[in-house]
């Protein structure tokens, strides 16, 4: 029966190809939405890494979260390094990790921090060791791969967070370690000691035309952001309020900001999902029309099958099987096309050194795609199959075809 249904399906190759294309496009769009939603969510969750609060200079909490957790946006400014000590002294704080931003290497951000930052993500060193003094750097796995730098080699950072800033040619970093791939934001960062950033920038600013001096540098040390982990849930109610009350400080709760971000991104996702559903509805309608036409065109064949002893239910099942075969093929092609689109997006994001979608694979929600295709096929085939079931064999076998 399957072979027969397959033969009948391709008896009208143009119609079948068109229906297949429509169904495939719809299912590919749904796959893409399901896949990217799941991957973006997983990616965000992975990069959050238990960070409860990000503290930065007064400004947009969303910007602080994007800059501090995902390294996607520019930070809102710098804050006094003394803030780190004040935070550490808070009984509600379990851990506080400073991040000093300002430079980049070939577009990858150079982050002045402490080895706690690596521990926060549970990342491991693939080669070498962590830094022990200023101007030593540990490269993220992607940075090492893209730059080809190895332990022992030196490089110069450039000013600013993009790839086009002026080079700090007189301050060379020495690569002392390379992180093993963790799939987190660390893969695309260059980590170094906090003091490295001060060293480069104090020199940089001293050399600038305005010549502003930093005589009491130790007191005026700054950092850009501080990542905080709470000691107890109570901190969620107390600590942001305390931070925001401090002069020049702004807190951002990544969980809240990420949820807000997902709501914003969600609008786009809804549009794409809606587009996929419209495509699927059009495909379902097209399959329905094609099957109705097929039942009419093949009335003689179907009547003959009844004449040869096929029960009405078997003839109806033949029509449903045709639709299911089409849907099955479209589901396979749709999943492949959807995954292809995700891979393409992943490549584009990698080129832009932006958020990663995480490893390619099969997400649980994707089982919906073949189920959706099957349900749509059965819905489209229901009426034509009923027509086939109710076929008047006696009349048809006498009528001219």
């Amino acid at each position: 029966m399957i072979r027969l249904a397959w033969k009948y399906l391709w008896a009208s190759p143009l119609t079948t190809a068109l229906n297949l294309l429509l169904l495939t496009l719809g299912l590919a769009a749904v796959t893409f939405v399901l896949r990217t939603s799941a991957q973006v969510e997983a990616g965000l969750k992975r990069d959050l890494a238990g960070i409860d609060l990000v503290v930065g200079a007064k400004g947009s909490p969303m910007q602080i979260m994007l800059a501090g957790v995902f390294h996607l946006d520019a930070p809102t400014g710098n804050i006094p390094l003394a803030t780190l000590d004040r935070l550490k002294q808070q009984p509600l704080v379990a851990q506080a990790v400073p991040l000093s931003l300002g430079d980049a290497f070939r577009g990858y951000r150079i982050v002045g921090t402490t080895p706690d930052y690596i521990e926060l993500y549970g990342a491991k060193l693939g080669q070498g060791a962590a830094w022990t003094k200023p101007m030593q750097a540990v490269l993220g796995a992607e940075v090492a791969r893209a730059s080809g730098l190895k332990v022992g080699e030196r490089f110069a950072g450039s000013h600013g967070l993009g790839a086009s800033g002026g080079a700090h040619g007189d301050h060379l970093f020495e690569v002392v370690g390379v992180l093993a791939e963790s799939g987190s934001v660390l893969d695309r960062l260059v980590l170094t000691d906090l003091a490295s950033v001060w060293e480069v920038h104090e020199e940089h600013h001293a050399g600038e035309a305005h010549g502003e001096a930093h005589e009491d540098a130790d007191e005026q040390r700054e950092t850009t952001l501080i990542l905080v982990r709470y000691r107890s849930p109570l901190a969620a109610a107390m600590l942001p309020r305390w931070v925001n009350a401090q002069d020049g400080l702004q807190s951002a709760a990544p969980a809240l900001e990420t949820a807000r971000l997902m709501r914003l991104v969600g609008a786009g996702t809804e549009v794409l999902r809606g587009f996929g559903i419209v495509l699927l509805a059009a495909a379902g309608l097209s399959v329905w029309v094609a099957l109705l036409h097929a039942v009419r065109a093949r009335q003689g064949d179907l009547a003959m099958l009844r004449m040869l002893g096929a029960p009405a239910s078997r003839v109806a099942a033949l029509i449903a099987l045709e639709a299911l075969l089409l849907a099955g093929l479209a589901a396979v092609l749709g999943l492949l096309a959807g995954h292809g689109l995700v891979a393409l997006l992943e490549r584009l994001l990698a080129e832009r050194q932006s958020l990663r979608l995480g490893p390619l694979g099969w997400s649980e929600a994707e089982w919906l795609v073949p189920l959706l295709a099957g349900a749509l096929a059965l819905l489209a085939a229901a009426w034509p199959a009923w027509r086939a079931y109710r076929l008047d064999v006696t009349t048809l076998l006498q009528a001219p075809r």
Binding site: L4, L308, G309, T394
Partner: protein
């Protein structure tokens, strides 16, 4: 082989039922059903094939009382007992000749029997056509394929509805010869419904053909 008593069929909306005179056909004989359009030939064929339920009277075909069978059992009985050569042949254009011959088995939910198909195609001198599609066949070749399809499951009864429709004299005689040869070779009974004078003339002369005028 065939017998009915008090058989009648009343279509919904019709003024009166179609009534058939009592009849019995012994084994080894064939039946020619004659009658003009609207005389009830096609209705009788549909009753014999179990496509219409027996509403009134008794109908026994190949030893089975058709009134006693459920619709599902009638389908199975039809597939196992009956071969049909319809007026318009109804060969599927989507399938090759060999695939068309596999339809009777598929209709019954069984696997194809390529050996039987090859045997019939050889017996009907069309072995070389197995891979062709119906539109690539001549009228005569298509008739042979339709006959081969009717014989695939070794039926005890073959119904042929207006087998000479749209055929010239030569093809009409050829078709009749094919049917009679096949019936003799396969040991089955033919029921031929026709109002074609050429068919009547050719079959009336035979001792093994009973004639019924409706």
């Amino acid at each position: 082989m065939l017998a009915w008593q008090g058989l009648a069929h009343h279509y919904a909306g019709a003024d009166k039922p179609i009534r058939y005179a009592d009849f019995a056909l012994g084994a080894g004989r064939h039946l020619l059903l004659r009658g003009a359009s609207g005389s009830g030939k096609s209705t009788l064929l549909a009753l014999l094939a179990g496509l219409l339920r027996v509403q009134q009277g008794e109908l026994n075909v190949a030893g089975t009382d058709l009134a006693s069978l459920s619709p599902r059992a009638l389908d199975a009985w039809r597939g196992a007992t009956l071969g049909v050569v319809p007026q318009r042949l109804h060969l599927s254009e989507a399938l090759t000749v060999a695939e068309n011959l596999a339809l009777p088995a598929l209709a019954a939910g069984q696997g194809a029997d390529p050996g039987r198909a090859a045997e019939l195609l050889a017996a009907l001198d069309i072995a070389e056509l197995a891979g062709r599609r119906p539109h690539q066949l001549s009228v005569g070749q298509a008739q042979r394929v339709a006959l081969a399809r009717a014989l695939m499951r070794r039926p005890r009864l073959v119904l042929a509805d207006e087998p000479s429709a749209n055929l010239d004299d030569e093809h009409t005689l050829h078709m009749l010869a094919l049917l009679l040869d096949a019936a003799e070779r396969e040991g089955c009974t033919l029921v031929i419904a026709s109002h074609d004078a050429r068919v009547v003339e050719a079959l009336s002369a035979r001792d093994d053909v009973a004639e019924m005028v409706l």
